[in-house]
Symmetry: C2
Subunit: 109 residues, 2 copies
Amino acid sequence: MDAQIKALAEPRRRQILELVRDQELAAGEIAAHFEVTRPAISQHLTVLKDALLITERRDGARRLYRVDPTGLLGLKQFVDAFWGSGLARLKAEVEADAQTAEGRKRKGP
Amino acid sequence: MDAQIKALAEPRRRQILELVRDQELAAGEIAAHFEVTRPAISQHLTVLKDALLITERRDGARRLYRVDPTGLLGLKQFVDAFWGSGLARLKAEVEADAQTAEGRKRKGP
DNA sequence: TCGTGACGTTAGTATCCGCTAACGTAAGAA
DNA sequence: TTCTTACGTTAGCGGATACTAACGTCACGA
């Protein structure tokens, strides 16, 4: 999961992911959306591919890229774990606060 | 969400988050779990705090830290969006493959 | 075979970032 | 006040990385 999070830490790579989220695009088409050089985009695509976040498919001299959702599984589990436990703790706190507030009838919001 | 993902991109910061996920710990207690110096941990805590991933509470000369789950909301939405759309696309592909396979009865697994 | 289009790859550079060492700050205890 | 504890902050260094420029590779058409 380390490679995936580090890949997503770069804003441009997240933009690339959004581009190939619903459509399959060639490397040149992706690069055309940005103002950096094409090799820079190529390196970003390599990072995303190594992190299993996109898949590459050859079509003649072109290479088509698309999102690979399975690569996000580890990150999703990580986030969901914190999200679930965090919400549970928040809920417990709110209930505890409500109880103490009812018992004391003091220290308003 | 950029600050949150960049904060999570560092493995040590994820370990810190796991530490203060279910318990409230002081900066020194957190630093005791690692082999790096205390100032390094202090800087990590600052990054996590700026990214709204943890909360700081003063208790005398000590400072207690704990996970703030609400800071993960943006990242969770981002991941869920890709996860949902990606799974939908995968499902559509599988169904399309099943149809073509049934029609052609060729090109096995 | 020669040329062209579409990519990837490799130096080389500037910047960012995590770490340590040294210093500064705030809150009790003596 | 003075000492100690528990922190945060700054300066500086070394490694990682995003970028550009130049070069190499593969597929296809003339």
